[in-house]
Structures are given as C-alpha cells and as structure tokens.
Amino acid sequence: MMRHILVAVIVVLFGLIFARMVGGYVELDALRPLALDYVTRAPVELGTPNIITGILITYRGFDTLGEVAVLFMVAASVGLLLKKDDAKPASAKVSSPKVSGEKTAAAKPVLAKTEAARAAAARSAAAKANASARAATAGSVAVKSTKEAAPAEDDEAAPREASEIVRTGTEILLPLIFTFGAYVIVNGHLSAGGGFQGGAVVASGVMLMLLARPGSTLNVALLSIIESFAGVFYVGLGILGLVLAGGFLDPRFLPKGEFGAFISAGAIPLISALLGIKVGAELSVIIDRFRS
C-alpha cells in the first residue's frame, strides 16, 4: 500500500514537471542564435545541402565520435555478458525432445559450429544445415503448419525454419533494404539520413535475414574486424582534418566540389560511409549475440 502511494506521488510530481514544460511552450518564430549560425554557415563552409549531416559530422563531430564509442561499448559489453550463455542453450538443444528426428540432424551442424571457431568453413556448414532443415520441413508439412499457427506458444528455443511467407518475403525485400541502406549512407550529405541511419537500416536487413534463416550464423569475427577498421579509419580521417584543415574531424581537407553533386562536401561522404559500416556491423553483432 505504501509503495503504491509513493509511486502515485512520484507520478504526480513528474506530471507537474512536464505540465510546466508544456505550459510554457511557445513556438519560436525565429531560429535561436546558435541554430541560425549553423544554418547559415553549413551550406557555405561545408557544401552540404543536408545541413543536419554537416552539423553532425563536422561541428558536432566529437559528439558523433562519442556516440559511436558508446555503441562500441554496448556491443562489447553485450558480447561479454551473453558469451557464457552460448554453451548452455546449445546443450539444451540436443537434450530437449524433438518434434522430428530429422530436425536434430539439422541442428547438429549448427551446434558443432557454435563450438568450433567461426571460420569460413562454418558458412558452408550453415548452408548445409539450412538445406537439410528445409528438406525436413518439406517432409513434415503438418508439423510445420501447426508451428506456424502458434509461433508464440513454441517452447523450444532451438532454431527452426521460418515460414514460407517470411522466407519468400525476405528474398524479395533483402536486396531492396540493403540498397536503401547504402543509398541513405552515401547520400547523407544530400538528403535526409547519413551514416547512423543507414547503418541502422542495414542492420535491420541483417535482422530480417537472421529471422528468415534461423540456422545460419553471422561471421562475427569478420564483422568485428570490419567494424574496428572502420573506427580506426574514422579517427584517422579526423586526425587528417587536424593536420590538413581546421581541426579534429574537419572534413574540409578534400575539395568542396559542386554544391549538391554526389561527390562534394569534402570528406563528409567518406566519414558517413565509415560511420554507416561501423554502425551496421555493430548492430548486426548485437542482434547476433541476442539470438539463442
């Protein structure tokens, strides 16, 4: 009872704070001085039609670096926390009763793979496991359809084949999602978007791929290497800006080019691409860690 009253009091206090904030709200008819400064300077100094990306990568480049560092730490700590669980679900997978004998056979290469080093050889094993899993589901259509009808009530954590709709939809949508992600990344200086948003789009494409093919695994080692190199190059470009232009993460050491052209705005497209690669790889690794 005491707890409920306390919670109610806290909620009312928060309500009062927010009511004050909303009550004092008036729409500004002019930009604040700092915003006005950025808006007038960014197109002239940086040559970016999309001012937001220009601000994020140049004037607030240090903040972006901090954001990326936070994301890196999140990925690292997720990997650290969820690493020990890797062995447990794998052993539970084998001991748990299976719907069909064929599915255990399909799950075994996956198990062997999670324990072995994630090398290139693992990829072919995953493909094989997937193919055999597909054959297994084709053999037991009745089992599959009941599982499709009630995905929420599925108690076993073992990877099972996704439904026909998800698989076919993924095959159609995946290239489009990846293309859109790449478009958003490399056009960050021209239209809405940029490295962070595009990286998130690419990572959601990776997520769709993992949903449609539960037996497959990501090559986490390769992704980590790519991500680390993207980070190193990002900081390297920043230092290059320090040496050749005005300061750390200043993209103006490359020619500004024609306003609105694809190759323009100094090093902003390069930095954006590196950010996109880094964010996409990091989020993909986080998703892969959360999969059982």
Binding site: E153, A200, V201, S204, M207, I287
Partner: protein, 80 residues
C-alpha cells in the same frame, strides 16, 4: 490539418504505451511498445525531422522489438 494529424499520432503513442504497460501477455506488449516507437517516428516525420524519424523507425521499432523477442524466447516466453 497537421495539428489534427499530430494529435492523432500522439494519442496513438499514448494508447500503445499504456497497452505495452498493461497487457499481461508479454508478446503483444512487446508489439505495442514497437508500435509506440513507430508512431513516434511518424510524429518526428510530421515535425519535419526525417533524419531522426529514420533512426527511430529502424532502431526503436525494428531492432529493439526483435531484441525483446529474442530475450522473451530465451526466458521461456515470459512465463517462467
């Protein structure tokens, strides 16, 4: 017109937020929280912030929802 749309979207955020808290079953609650993120992304778009909307739609309603899904699966559908 814009104000009306914005009010509608904000009401949707509220409703899905309350649903996410109140629903007893974990899976629909997760979907409701994803829906709240999606409506938030729409509201950002209406407020002329497409960059933020893109990040919110991809991360808030896409990735976060499915990370919840994996977490629910690992903890036995939230029943245990």
């Amino acid at each position: 017109m814009l104000e009306f749309l914005l009010l509608l979207v904000c009401a949707s955020i509220l409703v899905s937020g309350v649903l996410a808290v109140c629903l007893k079953n974990v899976l629909p609650a997760m979907v409701a929280s994803g829906l709240a993120s999606l409506f938030a992304a729409v509201s950002f778009l209406l407020l002329a912030a497409p960059d933020v909307a893109m990040a919110e739609a991809a991360i808030g309603s896409g990735l976060a929802t499915f990370i919840f899904l994996y977490a629910i699966r690992k903890t036995g559908n939230g029943k245990g």
